[in-house]
């Protein structure tokens, strides 16, 4: 193989910037991140990119490739035609720091508003007993690599800066669902989800699910069940109590 690809890469900072053209060599089997690293090494030493693992495990290299939120390390060059011009821009929902690097601190701030895991008082390390079937649901959500592509995609954040103060976004709400479904968590998480983190802003469009590189069913498995539970709590407190007691049984299973 080996050909010259045409790239347009967004260069600039929070103030302003522009798409800059690069012609760069591409070899067999490469991904977009490889090609940008070549640009960085040979044409623009100061091109700002985040990356770590180059294997879709750390969630650092998020950007928009031809307008689609993607991990650059998992975007194969052979998904494009050799004649295509490939445009790479920073995540749109977050402020740009430089070039393809954005300020994602919003996500960490919101994560801090989710009360931590709270196991039953008195249950000592080493004494935890949980069935595989019971941990499975939360395990799906814990596959999250915090790439924040879902946060970047959800229209409630992407197109509405003003919502950010009320709405924590799918990644953070999924964390609430994860704790809510943890067999040994003791907190009632519904109020946090609804009142503090803005679950109501989600209108289950599933755009977050579509971009998740871990293929987590964010909407179906986390957000919708969380919404249902919130509704139950509001209208049927007795049933909520029952469900928590039911869960507790596995403490000494």
């Amino acid at each position: 193989m080996g050909y010259k690809a045409k790239f347009k890469i967004w260069r600039g900072d929070n103030g302003d910037g522009e798409l800059v053209d690069y012609a760069v060599e591409v070899n067999e089997g490469e991904v977009v991140l490889d090609v940008l690293h070549r640009v960085q090494a040979e044409q623009a030493n100061d091109l700002a990119i985040r990356w770590n693992c180059k294997a879709g495990k750390c969630g650092s290299c998020s950007a928009e490739v031809n307008g689609k939120p993607r991990l650059m390390c998992m975007t194969r060059m052979n998904t494009f035609e050799e004649t295509d011009t490939i445009t790479v821009t920073p995540l749109r929902a977050f402020p740009v720091i430089r070039d393809l690097v954005t300020d994602v601190s919003f996500n960490y701030e919101k994560a801090r508003e989710v009360p931590a895991f709270s196991p039953p008082v008195g249950l000592k390390p080493g004494e935890f007993r949980m069935e595989q079937d019971d941990v499975q649901r939360s395990q799906e959500f814990r596959k999250c690599i915090e790439c924040f592509l879902c946060q970047n995609t959800c229209h409630a954040v992407r197109d509405h800066e003003e919502n950010k103060q009320y709405f924590a976004g799918p990644r953070v709400l999924m964390r609430v669902a994860e704790l809510d479904m943890h067999p040994l968590d003791t907190l009632d998480r519904k109020k946090t989800a609804q009142d503090d983190l803005g679950l109501g802003y989600c209108n289950i469009t599933k755009c977050c699910t579509e971009v998740c590189p871990e293929h987590i069913k964010i909407t179906d498995n986390a957000l919708i069940p969380l919404k249902e539970r919130v509704a139950d709590v509001k209208y049927d407190p007795v049933r909520w109590l029952g469900s928590k007691i039911g869960v507790r049984k596995s403490d000494n299973a």
Partner: protein, 637 residues
């Protein structure tokens, strides 16, 4: 001069991987304020990439397991060059550390009776690795990250400020550790860092500094390590008067991807073999049976039939040789490829598709399935993978006190995790790193806290002089002043080529010597390095600051590799192919002497007679001199 952001903490932790986060949690538990600094974002340190699991002898799957067996396996894996005391503490404390993670929210895979499931791994006698599919590192780092957040929430409740006790400085790289005082009073006083986003400097004054900076693999061309692994902690320990131990020992993981070229080196977890994957050459032969070394002859199956039976009946059969320690498997693959029996892209075949059904593979090895599918167009449930050795881990590291993790020779400095040396001897067993991070991260946090109390009680509060600060800043800005120099990327590429070709998996004196000469010339080129652009998020500048550390550490690796004239674990000398009982007694210690590196031989502490009773004398005889064995026997009787 620009306005410098300034902070005071009791403890500065450099590194937000498993070791750093665990250390910070412990420092706070002991009433100390701690800053956590890292080069990348919070939750993205190398630990996130670990796949297979955490080794701890909980005995959930096979109740014959206990700390003594884990200790023995660790010593064997390291070919008895380990610091016995670290290996002992590690084996004893690992289970508690894993259970603690569970209490902080980790969700490990479960056994049928609801306990933490444990899987087989190379060199471990029993199923020992707590895991979550093949994304254990992600679970571990996320749990610790969320634990930090939980503690911050407690601090918020108590003080109104999330960051009263623990503050995370992500994308904030340290360039220098400051020292104060003279003679016996010489001690750590803080660090200089720069924010990667803005390029602005930050001064931290603190009584104690904990190095948790990870490894050095980015100096090699084929590696599973990321850009972060430039050996910063190793280099800064040297620069502040500390020493490195046994830097010649590097782990080349036997199974990295070999194709496509751009992913060459990316890790294929050992769990593939632990869960039944077999290695074959181009002739279809399970070649590992041909490479069982004498010291392991009675521990591994010698026929395919027995090896296959082991998966279902481990108590009555010996394990397959695919699960030999990593150094053995890596050398075997290397030999097969050299002998012309490799796969089309220069590796060998690793196949799990014939042993496990597709759905089980996807459940047990989801990220491997994903990785091969997306990066190599290979469906591992149907076809074999192509794999070959990749530079993965450094066993050598900062010389520390085995109990407290205090760096030898630098008061107030501690080191834990991959940056520390001693535990793994000449070769680390899979899964023993994640447990290392927890056990010794905690110890570093604890003893750093104790040290801070003592220092403060003695009136030794830390402060950094303006002159030292200015000098460190000038050094960091120097690369901008050169207008016509060379790109730092070009120098790094050449270093990676050099180390890979000349100080790689198989070494000889002449080649290592050549590497040392090349490193000298790279140092000269580095003196004429050019950085383009400004200070805001400028990776070229960041690399220019990492490179001197990379070169220094590479020099230490090469010098130690040249000095140790034997083959053991992660150090194979073509010109000295045998393991030597005399060399086993030797730790190679490196220090800075002015601008050059001095290397000295130091005796390795001999294990206690009590621990020695865990081994047959005949086994000890394979590693130790008769004299040593006699002295151990004498001590017991």
């Amino acid at each position: 001069m620009e306005e410098i952001e300034r902070y005071r903490f009791d403890v500065v932790v450099i590194g937000a991987g498993g070791a750093g986060l665990r250390a910070a949690v412990e420092a706070r538990a002991n009433g100390k304020s701690a800053a956590i600094l890292s080069k990348s974002l919070f939750g993205k340190a190398h630990t996130v990439m670990a796949e297979g699991g955490i080794a701890a002898s909980m005995g959930n799957v096979n109740d014959r397991d206990n700390w003594q067996v884990h200790f023995g396996d660790t010593m064997r894996g390291g070919k008895f060059l380990n610091h016995y005391r670290m290996a002992e503490l590690h084996a004893k404390e690992a289970p508690e550390r894993v259970w603690e993670l569970e209490a902080w929210g980790a969700l490990f895979d479960r056994t049928k009776d609801g306990k933490i499931s444990q899987r087989n791994f190379g060199g471990h006698e029993y199923p020992r690795l707590a895991h979550v599919g093949d994304r254990t590192g992600l679970e571990m780092i996320r749990t610790l990250q969320q634990r930090i957040v939980g503690l911050q929430q407690e601090d918020k409740k108590a003080t109104g400020d999330y960051e009263a006790g623990l503050k995370v400085f992500a994308e904030c790289s340290v360039t220098k550790i400051f020292m104060t005082g003279e003679g016996d009073d010489r001690r750590v006083s803080g660090v200089l860092a720069y924010w990667r986003p803005s390029g602005k400097f930050v001064l931290f004054e603190s009584e104690a500094v904990i190095l948790a900076t990870g490894g050095v693999g980015k100096s090699f061309k084929v590696t599973s390590n990321s850009w972060e692994y430039t050996g910063d902690g190793h280099a800064m320990a040297l620069e502040s008067g500390g020493s490195l131990v046994n830097m010649e020992f590097l782990q080349f993981h036997p199974t990295g991807m070999v194709w496509p070229p751009s992913v060459k080196g990316i890790l294929v977890t050992e769990s593939v073999r632990g869960d039944g994957g077999v290695l074959t050459n181009s002739e279809g032969r399970r070649f590992m049976f041909d490479y069982i070394p004498a010291v392991f002859k009675d521990k591994y199956a010698t026929t395919e039939e027995e090896a296959d039976r082991w998966y279902t009946d481990p108590d009555n059969n010996k394990r397959p040789p695919e699960l030999l320690p990593r150094d053995e498997v890596a050398r075997a693959i290397n030999s097969e490829v050299k002998a012309g029996r490799g796969s089309p892209h220069g590796g060998v075949f690793l196949d799990v598709s014939k042993r496990l059904p597709a759905d089980v593979i996807k459940a047990k090895l989801p990220s491997m399935w994903h990785q091969f599918k997306e990066l190599a167009d290979v469906d591992i449930t149907l076809e074999p993978m192509e794999v070959g050795p990749t530079c993965h881990y450094v066993m050598g590291g900062v010389e520390v006190d085995p109990d407290t993790q205090a760096a030898v020779g630098v008061t107030g400095l501690f080191a834990a995790g991959e940056v520390g040396g001693g535990l793994h001897g000449s070769n680390r067993l899979g899964g023993n790193s994640l447990s290392d991070l927890l056990v010794f991260g905690r110890r570093a946090g604890l003893y750093a806290a104790e040290y801070v109390d003592a220092a403060k009680a003695a009136g030794k509060t830390a402060s950094v002089s303006e002159a030292d600060l200015q000098e460190a800043i000038d050094w960091a800005l120097a690369p901008f002043t050169n207008e016509n120099g060379e790109s730092p990327y070009a120098i790094q590429f050449d270093l990676q080529d050099t180390m890979n070709a000349l100080v790689g998996i198989i070494r000889t004196a002449s080649e290592v010597q050549e590497a040392l000469t090349k490193i000298e010339s790279l140092k000269v080129r580095m003196g004429n390095m050019k950085v383009v652009g400004g200070r805001e998020y400028n990776p070229g500048w960041h690399l220019a600051l990492d490179l001197p550390k990379q070169l220094l550490v590479s020099q230490c690796i090469a010098l130690a590799a040249l000095t140790r004239e034997e083959s053991r674990g992660g150090h194979t000398r073509d010109d000295f192919p045998e393991m030597s009982s005399e060399w086993r007694k030797v730790n190679l210690i490196e220090r800075l002497d002015g601008d050059s590196v001095a290397i000295v031989r130091q005796p390795l502490p001999l294990m206690t007679a009590e621990l020695a009773t865990l081994f047959d004398t005949s086994e000890l005889g394979k590693y130790m001199t008769q004299e040593e064995i006699d002295s151990l026997v004498q001590r017991t009787s």
